[in-house]
Amino acid sequence: MTTEMALEGVRVLDLTHHYSGPFCTKLLADYGADVIKVEKPGTGDPTRSIGPFLDDDPHPEKSGLFFHLNTNKRSITLNLKSEGGKRIFKDLVATADVVVESFRPHVMAGLGLGYDELKTIRPNLVMTSISSFGQTGPYAEFKATELIIYGMGGAMYNAGVPDREPVSYGIPTAVFQGGGAAAAGTMGALYGATFNDVGQHVDVSIMETLLGSVDRRIAALLSYEYSGEVGGRESMGGGFATGYFPCQDGYFVMAGSGNIMFPRLVKMMGDPEPLQDPAFLTPAGASDPDLRDLFEAVLIGWSMDHTKQEIIQLGEENGLICAAVNDMEGVFNDRHLNERGVFTDIDHPVMGSIRSLGRPFVMEQTPWKLRRPAPLIGQHNVEILKDLGHTSEAIVQFKQNGVI
C-alpha cells in the first residue's frame, strides 16, 4: 500500500533560485506536490555553485546547500528568453496549479510571462512572487542579500552588544523565513483557488515577512508606535540569569530569571549562600549591576565544575529551561533527534549516500516521504517534454537550438 501525501496531485512550476524560493517549493514538494524546477540551461540554479560541496569539490551536482533545498523536485532546463522555451513553459502552465518565481519584479512581465498573461492560460492559477522588497514601491528593484534584508526588515538593530555594530543572524536565516512565509501564503491561496475558484497573485516581500516576524520585531514596531521610543541593544530584558554561560566543556543557555525560575536555579546549584539574598527577587534587584556580578561569579564558579550534559540533566530535574550550545557534531549525535527520525540517508546519483535532514514536521496521516533526491540539472527534460507530447526528435532539436 502506498501512503498518500497531503499535496498529491498538485503541480508546481518552480522558477526560483538561491534560498527563499527553493525553500518554499521544497516544502510543497516534500509533502507531495509535483514540483518542476525550471533551470537556466548550462549553469542552472546559482545555488549549485554555493557550498558546502562534497569533498570540497565545487561541482554543480555536489552542493550540499542545493541538495538540501531541492529534495523531491524534478528539473527541466528551459531558456525562457527563447520563443521555444516560452512555448514549453506556457504548455506546462496549462497543467499547473501553482507557479512560484523569485526574479526581480520586472523580469516575468518583461518575458511576457506575468500573472496577467499566465492566468489566461490557466484559470485560477496561483502565482507566488518572492522578492526582497515586494513587487511594488520605491525599493522594489533594489538588490539585497541575507545581511541587507535582515538589517532592513529584521531585529538586527536590537541584536548584539551596545557600543558595537549590530550583529546579524550569522548563518543565512532571514531568507529561509521569507521562503516559509511564501509557502504558507501559497498554500492558503491554493486552498482558495481549488475550492472557491479564486486564483491569486501572491506578493511576498521578504522584508515584510521579517517585519511581521513574531520574534520581537513586530512587538518593537508596535511599541514604537505606542510609545515613540526605540529600544537599543541593551540587555534584552531577560534578567541576568537568562542568557548564555560558560561551563566545563563549552556553553549552555538558560532562562533562569524571575520568581519561578530563579529559586529553581538556586536550588539546582545547591543553595549557595550568596544567592539567598531576597533582593535577587525584587524588580530593582533584577537590574542591579552589583547583584549581577555576584550572581555571575557564583554561577560560573559552579558551572565550570559541570559539563553541558550534567547541567541539562540537572536543569530538567529541577524544572529549569536550559540547553547546551551545540555544534553540528552534537546535533548529529543527539539521541532525541536520532530516535525521532529527523535524519535521513539520501542516495544521490553523483554524491552517493548522504545523511541529511528529513522532514521539518510530522504529518501523521500523510507522512513526509523522500521520493527523489535533489535533481541533476535537466534530469527530467525528456520525461517532462514527452508528457507534453514532444517526440524524441523534437527534444533533440530543442537541445540543438538552445531551448533546453
Binding site: 498518500e4 496531485g9 557550498g51 550540499g64 546547500l65 538540501h68 515586494g134 538588490k143 539585497a144 545581511l147 538589517g151 532592513m152 541584536a159 548584539g160 546579524s168 516559509g180 509557502a183 504558507a184 501564503g185 498554500m187 492558503g188 482558495g192 481549488t194 479564486v198 486564483g199 491569486q200 497573485h201 506578493d203 516581500s205 515577512t209 511581521g212 513574531v214 520574534d215 513586530i218 512587538a219 514596531l221 508596535l222 505606542y226 510609545s227 537568562t242 542568557g243 548564555y244 556553553y251 538558560m254 524544572g319 529551561i321 547546551a324 550550545v325 551545540n326 553540528m328 543527539d334 539521541r335 530516535e339 529527523v342 541529511s356 521539518p360 514536521f361 510530522v362 496521516q365 500523510t366
Partner: protein
C-alpha cells in the same frame, strides 16, 4: 468581492507565547475564524501578558514593558493594551473558559464539534493533563486536524522537556553559528527566529492538512517540534559536517568568501549601513559610487579573493567613507550603482519608511481601549482578495457572547451561570496577579 481563501474554516487557538500565535495570525489573516481560548482564572504561559495587573510603577522598572503600553499607561485593563499581544492577534477572536472546572471541557467539546482545527504549542504534557488529546478530539469531530507544536515534539526522549526558542536554537546548533566572530558565546544575540519560523511553517502545515481533508475527507494530527523545525533551515552546516566532517564557522556579519560584506557606521548616533559586495561588477559599482578614491586601485582589492584576504584594511577604508554618509542616502547611492546596501533600520525608521508607506504595509486600526494606531500589517499580499486587518486584537473575553450564545446555543440563563462560575468575563479574577 470573493471570499477570503480560508473563509468558513474555524480554528480553536490554544496557543501561547510566540510560535503558536504566529501560526494562527497567518491563518486568521487568510480568512479563518480563529478563536483564542483563554481563562480569566489564570494567565498561564500567556501570549497576552506575563503580568495581568501591571502598575505604572512596575512598568518603569523595565524599559521593554514601558514601551509596550500606549503612552506609558497601563490603563484600567492592562492585559488588553500590550504591544506584543496586540501586534500579532489581529483577526482573532477571544473566548474565556475555565478548563479546571469539569463543565469547562464540556463547553470546549461543543466548540470542537463545530471546528476544523485545534492548534496548541504548550509543553507536551499540558494538553494531556487537560484531557485534550487527538483521540478525544477525533471522537467528537472525526475529521478534525490537530496541530501540536511543543519544543521537542510529542514523542522521543525529550518529549516532555520544556523549551523556548532560545534553548531550542542552542541545542540544534543555530546559536553557535551566530554572533560576533571576535566575542565568546556569552554574547550571542538574544534574538530567536525559531519561534517565528515554527509559526510560519505550522500555518503551512495546517493549510496543507486542510487541503488534503477537503480532497479526501480525512483529518489528521501534526507534530511540529520547534527545535527540529528550525534545524531544517541548517541544511548547509549540517551537510558540511556529514559530508566533510567540518564544523562550519560562524560568519558573523561577513561572508565566507566575498568582501566587503559588513555593517559600517554612518552619520548620527548608532546609525549603520550594511554593504555586501559579492562579485567584480558590484565592486566596480561600489568604487564608482564613492568617486573612485585612489585606495580602490590598490591591487590588494583587485579580485574577490584578494578583497576577502584583505578585508580588515578594506573595511577601514569603507568606514572612512560611510562615517560621512547618511544611512538612507548611502543606500540610494549604492543601489543606483547596483550595489546591495541598506540601512540597519530601527523601529522608527521602519514606521517612517517611504517604501513601506507606498506599499501600505502599516494599517491604521481603532482599538476600543487604545484608539487609532498604525499596526504592522500582512505577511504577504493577495491580488484578488486583498488581506487586511479586519479587526484589532481581541480584548480578553470579547467574543464570549458570540461563541457561547450564537455558536454553542447556550441560553441567557446558562450564560449568566457561566459568568457566576468564573468561566465568562472580561476581567481577570481577583487572585490573578
Amino acid at each position: 468581492m470573493p471570499k477570503l481563501p480560508l473563509d468558513g474554516i474555524r480554528i480553536i487557538d490554544f496557543t501561547v507565547v510566540i510560535a503558536g500565535p504566529a501560526a494562527t495570525a497567518k491563518l486568521g489573516d487568510m480568512g479563518a475564524e480563529v478563536i483564542r481560548i483563554e481563562s480569566i482564572q489564570e494567565i498561564g504561559t500567556g501570549a497576552r501578558t506575563t503580568r495581568a495587573k501591571i502598575t505604572k510603577e512596575q512598568m518603569e522598572t523595565s524599559p521593554i514593558q514601558r514601551r509596550a503600553y500606549p503612552d506609558g499607561d497601563p490603563g484600567e485593563r492592562p492585559w488588553n493594551r500590550g504591544a506584543g499581544f496586540n501586534a500579532h492577534s489581529r483577526n482573532k477572536l477571544c473566548m474565556t473558559v475555565d478548563l479546571k472546572k469539569p463543565e469547562g471541557l464540556e463547553i470546549l467539546e461543543k466548540l470542537v464539534a463545530q471546528s476544523d482545527v485545534l492548534i496548541e504549542n504548550h509543553a507536551t504534557d499540558y494538553m494531556e493533563r487537560k484531557g485534550i488529546t487527538y483521540d478525544w478530539l477525533k471522537k467528537i469531530k472525526p475529521d478534525i486536524i490537530m496541530v501540536r507544536m511543543p519544543g521537542w515534539g510529542t514523542h522521543g526522549p525529550y518529549a516532555y522537556w520544556r523549551t523556548f526558542g532560545s534553548t531550542a536554537e542552542g541545542h540544534i546548533g543555530r546559536s553557535a553559528l551566530s554572533g560576533y566572530q571576535d566575542m565568546d558565546s556569552s554574547h550571542i544575540p538574544w534574538v530567536f527566529p525559531a519561534d517565528a519560523n515554527a509559526g510560519t511553517i505550522a500555518a503551512f502545515a495546517t493549510t496543507a492538512a486542510l487541503y488534503h481533508r477537503k480532497k479526501t475527507g480525512k483529518g489528521q494530527m501534526i507534530d511540529l517540534a520547534l527545535a527540529e523545525n528550525i534545524l531544517n533551515i541548517l541544511g548547509a552546516p549540517f551537510l558540511d559536517y556529514t559530508m566533510n566532517g567540518r564544523i562550519t564557522e560562524n560568519p558573523g556579519n561577513r561572508h565566507p568568501s566575498a568582501a566587503p560584506h559588513g555593517t559600517y557606521p554612518t552619520k548620527g548616533e548608532d546609525r549603520w549601513i550594511n554593504i555586501t559586495v559579492t562579485n567584480d561588477a558590484e565592486w566596480n559599482g561600489f568604487c564608482e559610487a564613492i568617486g573612485n578614491p585612489t585606495w580602490t586601485q590598490n591591487e590588494n582589492y583587485a579580485s574577490t579573493g584578494s578583497r576577502w584576504e584583505n578585508q580588515d584594511s578594506l573595511d577601514e577604508h569603507i568606514q572612512s567613507w560611510t562615517k560621512e554618509q547618511d544611512h538612507f542616502d548611502a543606500m540610494h547611492l549604492l543601489q543606483s550603482h547596483g550595489v546591495p546596501a541598506g540601512p540597519v533600520m530601527d523601529a522608527g525608521d521602519a514606521v517612517r519608511d517611504p517604501h513601506l508607506e507606498a506599499r501600505g504595509y502599516f494599517e491604521a486600526v481603532n482599538h476600543s481601549e487604545i484608539g487609532v494606531h498604525r499596526y504592522p500589517g500582512m505577511f504577504f499580499k493577495f491580488s484578488e482578495t486583498p488581506l487586511k486587518i479586519r479587526r484589532p486584537a481581541p480584548r480578553l473575553g470579547e467574543d464570549n457572547e458570540y461563541v457561547y450564545k450564537e455558536l454553542l446555543k447556550y441560553s441567557d440563563e446558562e450564560y449568566s451561570q457561566f459568568e457566576q462560575d468564573g468561566h465568562i468575563g472580561m476581567d481577570y479574577a481577583p487572585h490573578v496577579p
